[in-house]
């Protein structure tokens, strides 16, 4: 069974929140034996190098726990900013919509799982 976690970031991230999120997420991955993590940042309008690094960190942590990370729904302005900051998030998968991301994850997990259950871990 492939199991995916969905993280929706809807508020501006700051240091503490990011650490809480990393804690929650790693715990959840282990608890649910998740194989994939979707980070939905479609409501994120402002990014800085900190958030970029946080996304990269989360991806790295998930990979250690054998779960793939897909960043979902990045806005054009956000993408341009990240590129200008020199953070192209290599090694992190991306998708435009949650459905697409699910497809990607399903394909990559490739265990023949029909559907993944989305758990919403939502900071505040």
């Amino acid at each position: 069974m492939g199991e995916f976690l969905l993280v929706s970031i809807q508020v501006d991230m700051h240091d503490k929140l990011a650490i809480t999120l990393q804690d929650d997420l790693t715990t959840s991955i282990v608890k649910h034996r998740a194989r994939g993590v979707l980070i939905d940042i479609s409501s994120l309008e402002i990014v800085d190098s900190f958030i970029g690094r946080m996304l990269a960190n989360i991806a790295a942590m998930s990979r250690v726990l054998d779960a793939e990370t897909v960043v979902v729904g990045m806005r054009p302005a956000v993408a341009i900013t990240l590129v200008e900051l020199g953070m192209s998030l290599t090694g992190v998968r991306t998708a435009l919509t949650v459905e697409r991301a699910m497809d990607t994850l399903r394909a990559s997990v490739a265990t023949g799982a029909e559907s993944g259950r989305g758990d919403a871990a939502r900071p505040e």
């Binding site: 960043v71 979902v72 990045m74 806005r75 054009p76 956000v78 993408a79 341009i80 990240l82 590129v83 200008e84 192209s88 998030l89 290599t90 991306t94 998708a95 435009l96 919509t97 697409r100 991301a101």
Partner: protein
């Protein structure tokens, strides 16, 4: 009493303004550089009269040595207006400058009459008049050029807006034919357009075709890679196509790393890859004749 050089020029401008204007107009009307098709005679007369009057006033106030003084501001203002207007009407820069230079002949003729046989003084006065008119003439050229440059800048801006179309080749496949040199400003526009269209169409593959890019240097390559990285962050893979043989050589010689990007020689090849990725195939519907 030692006279200041050029004082006779000032005197002549003051005393013989009317005669100068008449003979100057005469010459301008006969000259081949007068563009009757572009300029009304009455307008030219008016401009000449105004110019001569302003030069006279300025010369009386500040002499003929330096045209950068505030006294010459009205003259410069007029020349700027005339020059800009003529540039817009399609005059060449030399045709515009001739407007000022053609004043030399009447002034010199008048000087010869006034100064008479004193060769030394005559040479000095002529030189002073010559320098004054040269400076003013060159000023018109400068303004003329500035006028042209604004036109060029505006056209460049328009081209920037026109030349970055993003077209949908297939459902989920976008193509971005880049024409012209990719500088930072254009990259920004291209990137924004592309990302916007990716959001609108939900495309997963974007083909950047650089057939129309004349040269690729490290900067252009960097801009391309930035665009590719940004598209990737939006969940779309990029294929760079239309790489001409010379450009392939340049890229390798420059040591630009394009390893992380799929590159194809032609747009057709890139499109084939895109279709394959989407699990599609093109088949012949009729047997070949």
């Amino acid at each position: 009493m030692p006279r200041e050089t050029g004082s006779r020029v000032v005197e002549i401008l003051d005393k013989h303004e009317r005669e100068l204007l008449t003979s100057w107009l005469d010459r301008q009307l006969k000259a081949s550089t007068l563009r009757r098709d572009l300029l009304q005679e009455s307008e030219m007369r008016e401009q000449s009269r105004e110019f001569l009057r302003l030069v006279r006033d300025a010369a009386a106030k500040a002499g003929v040595e330096d045209v950068d003084t505030p006294a010459y501001e009205p003259v410069r203002e007029l020349l700027r207006a005339i020059s800009t207007e003529r540039a817009r009407k399609g005059f060449t820069s030399s045709e515009t400058a001739t407007f000022v230079f053609s004043l030399k002949e009447p002034v010199f003729a008048r000087l010869r009459q006034e100064v008479g046989m004193d060769v030394g003084a005559l040479a000095e006065e002529m030189w002073a008049a010559n320098v004054l008119l040269d400076k003013l003439g060159l000023f018109t050229t400068e303004v003329h050029q500035q006028g042209r440059e604004t036109v060029i800048a505006r056209q460049a801006e328009e081209m920037l807006e026109l030349s970055t179309p993003v077209v949908e080749l297939w459902e989920g496949v976008l193509a971005l034919p880049v024409i012209g040199t990719l500088d930072s400003a254009r990259t920004q526009v291209v990137m924004e357009n592309l990302l916007q269209r990716i959001v609108e169409t939900g495309a997963t593959i974007a083909i950047i075709d650089i057939t129309g890019v004349p040269t690729v240097d490290t900067l252009v390559a960097q801009h391309l890679l930035k665009t590719v990285a940004a598209a990737r962050l939006m969940g779309a893979d990029c294929i760079i196509s239309g790489i001409r043989p010379q450009i392939a050589q340049t890229i390798v010689h420059l040591g630009v790393e394009l390893q992380s990007v799929i590159t194809k020689a032609t747009l057709a090849d890139a499109f084939a890859v895109a279709l394959q990725r989407a699990g599609l195939a093109v088949v012949r519907s009729r047997p070949q004749a």
